[in-house]
Symmetry: C2
Subunit: 333 residues, 2 copies
């Protein structure tokens, strides 16, 4: 019998989550039954979308249950196998995050071939966040030659991939992020015009200065004032991929939307929300493209790593104060 620790949802947050909303607990794992494996998690991810799952409302992902272990993406290693499909030492990807290990059917996890990348990359640049950037830019925003691209949250897991994919494809990119360290990172990865929104009084003016001829594509990770600025700077037939609105996730009373939505009409703007799970068909092509960009030195990424399952709540909470540069990860072993 193996004992592992896990994080449970203790109470539902009102506003920004606090440590009190989480509970660390220990559970004993049964040995794998017929067709099952036991997995030791090496890495787990914390992502902004999980905030929505802490509320008791129906959304695209079901709410976390009170008193139960939370879940999310994880990379682990098979430590015991009772299935011909997986052997001890195999790396696997699963949805059994927020815990140090688990026993489950071999068909409930996916064997991972890291193809020379560090395994945790499959929770970030080579995983859902990377595909989110790729699908949002190429399919939702229908990126085309000559487009000027604006991305908010540009130093984050998704945003930094958006910026680099757009640069790799030859576009002018304006990226916004909060703070000097993130701004420096954006310059490092080749963003043409960096907006440190924490240093700007008037985001619309800052964007207009960075993109005097306007923008064609906006990749929104933030919402609120960023969306308002993007509408002001949008050119005719601009396309907005609405991926996240982190500025609103913790609002007790949702803040009002942009005052300038009527610009959608005169500028013929298309604004489209999306969830990456509807675009998994693009994964093989994405991994192929990504591999080429990485080899050519055009795409890189940062990780902010927190160690230990007991720190997972802090890592998650830190997302909302912008503590992460690139992908926020929790190292479990």
């Amino acid at each position: 019998m193996t004992t592992v620790r896990e994080i449970r949802l203790k109470s539902r947050p009102r506003g920004v989550p606090t440590a009190d909303n989480f509970e660390l607990a220990s559970v004993d794992l049964p040995p794998p039954g017929e067709g099952e494996v036991q997995v030791k998690n090496l890495w787990m991810t914390v992502d902004p979308y999980m905030r929505g799952r802490m509320n008791d409302v129906k959304s695209y992902a079901p709410p976390f249950a009170l008193g139960k272990v939370m879940d999310g993406g994880a990379i682990g290693e098979v430590v015991a196998s009772n299935s011909p499909a997986l052997k001890v030492g195999d790396l696997v990807q699963s949805g059994f995050g927020w815990r140090e290990g688990f026993t489950t059917g071999a068909d409930k996890v996916q064997k991972l071939d890291p193809r020379g990348l560090p395994p945790q990359a499959f929770l970030g640049a080579a995983g859902m966040p990377g595909l989110t950037a790729y699908a949002g830019l190429l399919r939702i925003a229908a990126l085309k030659d000559g487009d000027v691209v604006f991305v908010s949250g540009a130093a984050g897991a998704v945003g930094s991939m958006v910026a680099q994919i757009a640069k790799a494809k030859g576009h002018t990119v304006i990226g916004s992020a909060g703070g000097a360290q993130k701004a420096a990172f954006l310059k490092e990865i080749g963003v043409d015009h960096v907006i440190d929104y924490k240093a700007e009084k008037d985001l619309s003016a800052a964007l207009a200065a960075a993109a005097p001829d306007g923008i064609d594509v906006y990749f929104d990770n933030v919402g609120g004032e960023h969306l308002e600025a993007a509408l002001n700077s949008a050119r005719l037939f601009a396309r907005f991929a609405i991926c996240g609105m982190i500025s609103m996730y913790n609002a007790v009373e949702p803040p009002p939307g942009p005052r300038n939505l009527a610009q959608l009409i005169g500028k013929n703007i298309r604004m489209e929300g999306f969830i990456v799970s509807h675009h998994f068909d693009m994964m093989p092509k994405y991994v192929e493209d990504l591999s080429g960009w990485v080899k050519a030195g055009k795409v890189t990424w940062k990780e902010t790593v927190v160690e230990g399952i007991e720190k997972a709540p802090d890592a998650f909470i830190g997302l909302f104060s912008g503590e992460n540069l690139g992908k926020m990860l929790v190292k479990l072993a």
Copy 2:
């Protein structure tokens, strides 16, 4: 020499336009020179989009100039011709509205073949408002079998065509309009669920009751609270054609946008603004379809007619208090 009256922009409105913003003036028309015609206007249109042109801001249509005659769609009759292209008695369509007559090059007007329809229909159901409904539903919202359609401003020139085109194509239609008379008209033209928004405290609740399984298409003529309700009731992959936001046109300080825009993400909603002038290629197909629907008794329309150029400002101002049922027109002769 013929003397005609015209309406000039005297001052730019702040908020809802008033009679003071307009000025009635008389001008003498020169006889037509070589290649020119003189036209007596029979009908002119007033449309909500003209409110934007009264502001001194760049938009998709240029601002009206202070002290100059305004312009817009008109139907007239040639009363003198010095061009082989047009003869006396020909009906013509032009952009020389807001005046009783004009002299211009024959190439600056379009000869109108009314095809059995009353000529003023080409300022409404068979003209730009009708094509706006058609292009918005079919191209922008990509209407497909089984879609449940919600349209705001459903008793207006555009909205009533949206409702009827959707009904003619077999869809369930929810229409909102203000007041009992408009609600009765919507029932008359076959709208399945009529919302009199002036009688509703909670528009989101009213829409949820009318469309318990949600909506797939929203055709927005109003913005504001209507857009918020549509987001709340939207189903996965809903498409919003954003045609107008009349609730905001007169705002001195633009009101905040909907608080629930983040629903775009989880529901994968596409929201697209459009201007009909980018869709004139659909006109021949529209007129063909419209003619079939009219013959089959599936599409009809209402007009609110005001007589005399001196009443044109009142007709225009009346659009914003919802005085029109169907197309608001000014009869000039």
